[in-house]
């Protein structure tokens, strides 16, 4: 990749911005309220977590697939006077990209502190998988003939060819990939707010019904209703906030393979956007995958986690199946992935809950069932057995790997603030 891709060559934003607040509603099926309510509750919770008030926040960003509420409504409900807001179209890969935008607009002097939220009734209203017949009755237009005309509509259907080709090119097995779900279910069993908290086995995954080869039901994420939010501000302001800041070292936003519209026309489809994104992520962060303590590799499907970890360089090309089945990604392993249980188990948010989890991990204050001490902090036991602790010991550096499609991804490195 050419040098001029290194957009932040001076790297003057490394360490200059931080995530200072995180918040969410429950991850449920049947929220019983609007996305406006979910968004408002999540942003309020994140502001409170940061130790701020609505008066401290003057920017709001959101993302959706036309299935959510607008920043102006959430800001209005919370009494936030806006100096900047924007509602962006898109699902997965939006979180890290919007964090980059937040850093940019604060750097430009357009506002001081930005709340980013995703509010969705992903089960009660617009189901991401398309189940329930969403859009199935509209006439087939020119572009639609290439997709719905072929019964090609959901994310799982669209990605299946990339997953299958990875198996063909590298000998990746169903058993290896099923371990992603197994490991994330272990993590979720230690997360009281996860939608699925039951641990599953490789057999459970492989004997669940086939949805779209190579995806069984348990290779696919859960659909839930939830509001989720984070607060981004400059490092100077971050130091006045309640918690140890999660300091942003590097961001990549919606980096794409050639022909982002039809990625499968170019190059081997068993390689995903991380192949390009890593050339921005690691140099700008000033570190590499070997320096990372925990990962949040997007798990819309078991395969997305595996392919991204591979293409971002956590293992050699083609060895993603070995990596995710080796135990490395488990709590107690060398580099746990999605310690909340992620999209496969905790809840579906298009990526932001994996950032929230890593912020809490870097604080050393993840919300498991460990007892709370007199200082108000959890007394972590580091016993990762079922129902136990999920705090990673000495967690200093995290990486989030967001996925939109095989052709587009975003990423972020954060480090524990001093």
């Amino acid at each position: 990749m050419s040098d001029d891709i290194d957009a932040t060559a001076a790297k003057h934003l490394r360490g200059k911005y931080a995530v200072v607040g995180v918040g969410e509603t429950g991850y449920v099926r049947g929220s019983g309220c609007t996305t406006r309510t979910l968004g408002t509750r999540a942003v309020r919770s994140a502001i409170e977590d940061a130790g701020l008030t609505s008066a401290d926040v003057d920017g709001v960003l959101s993302y959706s697939n036309n299935d959510s509420t607008f920043s102006t409504l959430v800001a209005g409900d919370l009494g936030i006077r806006l100096n900047f807001y924007m509602d962006v179209y898109g699902g997965g890969s939006s979180t890290e990209a919007l964090i980059g935008i937040a850093m940019g607009v604060i750097e430009a002097g357009m506002c001081k502190t930005v709340a980013i939220y995703r509010a969705m009734n992903g089960y009660s209203q617009v189901r991401i998988g398309g189940t329930g017949g969403r859009g199935t009755k509209a006439p087939l237009s020119g572009g639609g003939l290439f997709s719905r005309g072929y019964g090609l509509m959901s994310a799982g259907q669209m990605f299946s060819q990339s997953f299958m080709r990875h198996m063909y090119d590298y000998g990746t097995t169903p058993e290896q990939v099923a371990m992603v779900k197994v490991v994330h279910s272990e993590h979720a069993s230690n997360n009281p707010k996860a939608y699925y908290q039951k641990r599953v086995s490789v057999d459970d995954v492989l004997s669940s019904r086939m949805i779209c080869k190579p995806l069984h039901l348990l290779d696919c994420c859960v659909e839930t209703d939830n509001g989720t939010a984070i607060i981004v501000t400059s490092i100077d302001r971050a130091r006045d906030c309640r918690h140890t800041p999660a300091v942003i070292q590097s961001v990549v936003g919606r980096c794409s393979k050639p022909r982002a519209d039809n990625h499968y026309q170019s190059g081997p489809i068993s390689t995903v956007a991380g192949h390009y994104a890593k050339e921005i992520l690691w140099p700008n962060a000033g570190l590499g995958p070997e320096d990372v303590d925990i990962t949040g590799s997007y798990d819309a499907f078991t395969f997305t986690t595996m392919m991204q970890l591979e293409d971002y360089g956590f293992c050699a090309k083609g060895e993603g199946g070995d990596y995710v089945s080796s135990g490395i990604t488990r709590l107690g392993g060398a580099r746990p992935n999605n310690t909340s249980g992620g999209h496969l188990c905790e809840g579906y948010t298009h990526g932001i809950n994996m950032v929230i989890e890593n912020v809490r991990q870097l604080r050393g204050d993840v919300d498991d069932s460990c007892p709370i001490g007199s200082d108000g902090r959890r007394q972590h036991t580091y016993d990762y057995s079922e129902g136990g602790c999920r705090q990673v010991k000495d967690c200093e550096v995290s990486a989030n790997l967001g996925w939109a499609t095989p052709g587009t991804g975003s990423a972020m490195v954060m480090a524990k603030g001093g």
Binding site: G133, T136, Y150, L152, S160, M164, R209, C212, K213
Partner: protein
């Protein structure tokens, strides 16, 4: 003029503003698989686009391709989302790499066309046919008429071609 039709109980309407798709599907309606070929760099492309993905030139002509290729990858839908497809499950989502322009303009590039596995008559393939097809299978295009002057390209086994002894399929 817009193209109208119906396929599997779904209305089909290609708008008269959508020139690229109108032309593509009109050729299909005439039993021809044609792709846009850039007037400048000479590369063909798929699906129809408004300019060349390699050199940005907006000018192109529609050139015929043989409609034969190798299965590059696939998905196999067992849980159909669109109600009308449920009766055909399991059905295959194919990515067929054409014989033309393979590994061009760069290694691992190719003209990869989407579509379903069908019988030689253009009906969606029955389960026993699905089980015979995998990565490496040799396929050829078949056109399913879906209205006056419009057809949908699908893929069937190329019975004239030499087939791999055992095409690669998901281990079941």
């Amino acid at each position: 003029m817009a193209l109208e039709g119906e396929y599997l109980d779904m209305a089909v309407y290609v708008d008269d503003l959508d020139q690229e798709n109108l032309e593509f599907y009109s050729f299909c309606g005439n039993g021809e698989l044609r792709l846009q070929q850039c007037s400048s760099c000479g590369l063909k492309r798929y699906p129809p686009t408004t300019a060349c993905p390699w050199c940005a030139n907006p000018e192109s002509s529609w050139e015929p391709v043989a409609g034969r290729g190798t299965l590059y990858s696939y998905g196999e839908v067992h849980h159909a989302i669109q109600p009308v497809f449920r009766q055909f499950a399991p059905y295959m989502l194919l990515l067929v790499e054409l014989d033309e322009q393979r590994d061009h303009p760069a290694p691992y590039d190719g003209l990869r066309l989407t579509g379903n596995l069908a019988t030689a008559d253009g009906d969606l393939a029955p389960p026993e046919l699905v089980e015979r097809v995998g990565i490496g299978s040799r396929l050829k295009v078949v056109f399913k008429s879906i209205g006056e002057g419009i057809a949908l390209p699908l893929w069937c086994l190329d019975e004239d071609a030499e087939q791999p002894a055992k095409p690669w399929r998901y281990p079941s």
